[in-house]
Amino acid sequence: MNFITPSPEELSFLRADPLLCEQELDVRPEVAEAIAWAANLRCGRVYWRSGHDHLYALELGDLGKGKPSTAMVYGFWDRYEPRPPEHEIDGDLMDFLLWVAKISGSMKAEDVSRTAQHAGIRAAWPEGSVLRTPEDRFADLPGFPYKPRYEEVEGLRMAYVEEGRGDPILMLHGEPTWGYLYRRMIPPLAQIGRVLVPDLIGFGRSDKPKADPAYSYKSHVRWVRKFIAALDLRKITLVCQDWGGAIGLRVLAQEPERFSRLVAMNTGIGPGLNPGPGFMQWRFFSQRVGEMDVPLLMRNTVLRRKLSNAEAAAYGAPFPSAEYQTAALIFPRLVPIRPDHPGAYDNRVAMEKLRTLNLPVLLPWADKDPITGPWEAALRSLFKKVAPPLTIKGAGHFLQEDAGEEIAGHIRSWMETHQVPGGES
């Protein structure tokens, strides 16, 4: 167990939720003593972060016996938000209890896990809680002949396409699109590297948990980080736009050693300030519709060319009905717009980290995007080695659709001048 000390600021944005409460540690006193010994604690709290990045604490109380008399385990959740899915909490508690059994001396971790098995306690998505878009929705997509590959992340199937060889070029899409958005950039970039285009959980061909609490800024970051770890990607050139950047930049800050270059387009990572009227209007609209007409939204937003009916329909393919849109409908409200907004603190920590990085950064930016258009300067100011401004003229928010080949060309020539030491490409 790796105990940590969270900052008072972080704790101020969270609420402590008592999960396990021992009022009297008189049963099996040797176990209680072993816990106190291993946590180096008689009275007070120790904290740890779980495999789901959730914060937990063990609190021991001393009622004057000279040894712990009470014990509580708390989960810490975003202060005013519903807690994460129960099976995540189960998994995290089980990890902790297996540790308790292991250090106790008188118990076996195996007995705890087998007891849980016998009781039918599975730290997994409950039957029927995850949707999967039927395959036939993705038949004959114009300009997207790529076969999906799959990687399992926390019991969810994450879909991605992979083309080319060499160092990974990881392309992350945002709201409410999927890997299809990058189709014009895949062939040119696949000539110089191993292009990987995953669909975020809740989007494209990836699995879609039904319940709202599954989706948080933190869970998207975690899923992408675990996807990268599962494929063990290194020397990554990260290409991202919209939420792909909001997520990707957090992953970059957590595991900078995996990344060698960053291409961020019409995206941002905010400290919890009002992101401007364009975004606020979109947020207001999106939180009231109940269902998104994604093909229509794409048609209206792609400016430099006219989307064909089949292309527009491809953006709607992942969503046979509103039930499949949970992730898409939630995304706009996950953008931190206040200093105490869930995710704002984590973003501030990530931004501090990003300021210290030396990786080369390219920021192709569409100039006809009312939402993220104004965010370029803020993002630019985070980085030391950032290329001069690169404006994609006349392009809207989905610049990969407006000018995919053009942007890919810029990325290629920029990558050639920013070689990775010891890299294959």
């Binding site: 396990l20 008189d26 059994a101």
Partner: protein, 306 residues
Amino acid sequence: MLRPKPEWLKPLFPWEQKEIKVNGRTMAYIDEGEPTGRPVLLLSGNPTWGFLYRDFIKPLVEAGFRAVAPDWVGCGYSDHPRVDAALTFAHHIADLVSLLDQLRLRGFVIVGQDWGGPQGVGAALQRVERLSAMVLMNTWLFTGYVGRFHSSPRPWTTWHAPLIGQFFMKRHKVLSHHGPEAVSRRGMTAKEARAYHHVFDEPDSDHVVLTWPRTIPLRKEDRGWGDMEVIEKRLPELAKIPTLLLWAPEDNVFPIEYANRLKELLPHAEGPVLFDRAAHFLQDDRGPDLASAVVAFLRRSLKEGK
């Protein structure tokens, strides 16, 4: 006022429970039969309530007895305190003593299974002059013997351990929501299983399901050791009380060794009379047969009853 019972429960459990304040908490109990009839206290254990004795009420009343089946505080339709300290062995005993006093029960009979045994006998010992007979079923009244079930790591001592117990018993309600159904020999209907566990639906309402296991005296330091020792030492005072042992030897929790030990401590007891096709909750598995055995025993030993 007691919580109203759901409609679906009424055909299975037609009796109106009464309520009484014991030690500041509400205790629910069935009280059927003539008020002048000899009171027979039907005492259940973990994690059940008066419902467990539903097959006993009618035969006892028809035989002229007064059937009194309380729900222990923490169980059934009684109050469910969330505090360990309100659910100790001594509390449970004192609650039953309070019931005996307030209902002015004289010449009462104790019928107890599981925790109904030690808690019932513990209370009877406080009012031993008014006790007239005992029926003990799959229970124990002693320290110093620990069977395989209570000493084995799966599931018992794991369910039990600090924090780990909270996870299984409270967060996942493995015992309160699945116990009786899981060991039923007869095969319970869904409604019957629901009748046992619906009383623990409210989160954190099943505190007793964890305080009871932790009261079982396995070692000297355990919560229940001292109180159980007091009961065991006083058992000779019951040497003249007609006693019957009814036993389900297929029960994993209290196998026949426990009956044999009880027989050593209460050598005058009849039995153990064995009932097959029954497990820990034998009143549920073989209710009518056990009820007739109890009625016959009371008629025989007390020379009364219709």
